[in-house]
């Protein structure tokens, strides 16, 4: 069995709870950013705290042969986020209504890209709000956390085929929402 350094630390933390601090330092920022993106500042703090407490309680059952530590932690986080479905929906609704602020500094291409992304902010937020929880979990782990399909499957404990089908469905809905606004969206673009 091959274990990376984080898995070793997690296994060691079963005996030595102080080792858990090292795990926190390795992953807290990633988890917090993702939670913050989805549910905002106040809820993110609670969700991440709950995630680490749950991870601490479940560390004895962590199986390094089934998943690396990062997907395992994001899996816990995702389950915690599901309890804040209404908060997340309200956040997307508010984002869909807000007017983005552009900072038009930098090379012309970057500015153009930011303006382009800003222009589709409202339909993107609305599209995310309308996605089912399961589809959204898969899409955002891929888009915001750079998860591979295998990592998504490990995190959400679903088959690889389910990851693909959920991602296809979610991307199709997002493209439909953007199709009339961003002419660069290719309706035929596959996954």
């Amino acid at each position: 069995m091959t274990m990376d350094a984080d898995a070793e630390v997690l296994v060691v933390s079963r005996l030595d709870s102080a080792a858990f601090a090292a795990l926190y330092d390795s992953f807290a920022a990633q988890l917090y950013w993702y939670a913050y993106q989805r549910v905002g500042e106040q809820t993110a703090e609670d969700v991440v705290a709950d995630t680490f407490l749950a991870a601490f309680q479940q560390r004895a059952s962590y199986d390094p042969s089934r998943a690396e530590v990062r997907p395992w932690l994001f899996g816990i986080l995702t389950r915690k986020l599901a309890r804040h479905y209404r908060t997340e929906s309200a956040r997307y609704r508010a984002l869909a209504r807000s007017v983005p602020e552009f900072v038009e500094d930098g090379p012309a291409e970057q500015v153009a890209a930011r303006v382009s992304a800003g222009a589709v902010r409202a339909p993107l937020a609305e599209a995310l709000r309308r996605l089912s929880v399961g589809d959204r979990d898969v899409l955002l782990l891929v888009a915001w956390c750079d998860f591979s399909y295998v990592e998504v499957a490990e995190a959400l404990d679903i088959p690889l085929g389910t990851v693909r089908s959920r991602l296809n469905r979610a991307r199709r809905k997002v493209r439909e929402a953007l199709g009339g606004i961003d002419p660069m969206i290719d309706q035929e673009d596959g996954v």
Binding site: M3, E8, S17, A29, A125, R171, I185
Partner: protein, 349 residues
């Protein structure tokens, strides 16, 4: 990247927290809830420490430290009773600085070496790779919890117990540690040898003698062929790690090791090292032709934490990554968790 995913990513970037890092309160909140130990266990631990101080004259430990510091003349050492140094990690730049701070830590935290009829209890966590015909495999075994009881006086036998760390219900595998008298090596009768578990006694407390000990040409701990391929300096560095493991209750021996190590060439400092239990610190590193050895110290107190042993990238047994480049592979990692003086084999602090 497809346009829709790119737009989603840009959207996600705009939603990230402005501070870029989690609030400090969150860390305190999480760690306060996860690193608190049961009150009963803490109480027993403190009792054990206090008992170890009370069972021997308090001046004894300080005396051996003062003797060692006086004999070896470690550069810029502080007096034994000065407060421990609190240097920041970034301030340490040379191996000699780290060794001096480690010696200072030993001096100010010296404790009773125990009575001859007592035992040195050492608990450590070890992860090692399994050697295969083509060299060292990168496949690591399960972390193992190892407990040793070695007689302070060296006149009786000791005991080693080990079990998988992740399996608290697994039975302990026990193996006796032979007495000093049973060991035939006349020159260094009680040297601890990896795998043989001989008890510690007679390790030099003088820096010059320790240097000779580390560079000894009697290969009681390694085959002649392995010693030749390893190189004298790399072997001396590894032997220093073993001596430090054994000498956790002997400040004089530890100071002698630290001082002798200042004469080993090719030792560098690596910040941000971690031991196998995840403790972060500063490492002294020696890269030999076959292996790279790291001795990890706490970045604040400079307490010795443990060692990491890896195959060197240039080693014929080294690992090769997907691009065909040589990378370092795990051979063994050891973290010392607890050391105490106890009255009987099987006693826990």
């Amino acid at each position: 990247m497809s346009r829709d995913l790119w737009l989603l990513r840009e959207f996600g970037e705009s939603l990230k927290p402005p501070a870029g890092r989690p609030p400090d309160d969150l860390r305190r909140r999480v760690l306060a809830a996860t690193t608190t130990r049961p009150a009963v266990r803490r109480s027993r631990w403190f009792q054990a420490v206090r008992r170890s101080w009370l069972t021997a004259p308090a001046s004894a430990a300080a005396a051996v430290v003062a003797l060692a510091l006086g004999v070896v003349g470690l550069p810029d050492s502080v007096a034994p009773h000065d407060p421990p140094p609190r240097a920041k990690v970034t301030q340490v730049q040379t191996a000699t600085q780290v060794l001096r701070l480690a010696a200072d830590h030993v001096a100010v935290t010296a404790r009773s070496p125990g009575r001859p009829d007592q035992y040195i209890f050492t608990e450590s966590v070890v992860i090692s790779s399994a050697p295969n015909p083509s060299g060292w495999s990168q496949t690591s075994r399960e972390p193992t919890l190892i407990r040793e009881w070695r007689p302070v006086g060296g006149s009786g036998h000791g005991l080693t117990q080990e079990r998988p760390l992740a399996s608290p219900d697994a039975p302990w595998q026990s193996e006796p540690i032979p007495t000093c008298q049973a060991v035939q090596d006349a020159a260094h009768a009680c040297i601890w040898v990896l795998g043989a578990g001989k008890p510690s006694k007679g390790l030099p407390t003088n820096a010059s003698l320790m240097y000779e000990f580390l560079y000894r040409s009697t290969y009681d701990d390694i085959s002649v062929a392995d010693a030749a391929s390893l190189g004298a300096d790399a072997l001396a560095f590894e032997r220093a790690a073993r001596a430090l493991y054994l000498a956790q209750t002997s400040p004089a021996v530890q100071v002698a090791v630290f001082t002798a190590m200042t004469r080993i060439p090719g030792v560098s400092v690596r910040l941000g090292a971690r031991d196998v239990t995840g403790r972060r610190g500063v490492a002294l590193m020696h890269r030999g032709p076959i292996s790279t050895t790291e001795l990890v110290f706490d970045a604040t107190s400079y307490k010795y934490l443990g060692m990491n042993l890896k195959t060197s990238p240039t080693s014929p047994n080294g690992q090769v990554d997907g691009a065909g480049d040589s990378v370092e592979g795990l051979m063994a990692r050891q973290a010392i968790r607890r050391v105490a003086i106890v009255d009987h084999i099987g006693d826990l602090p």
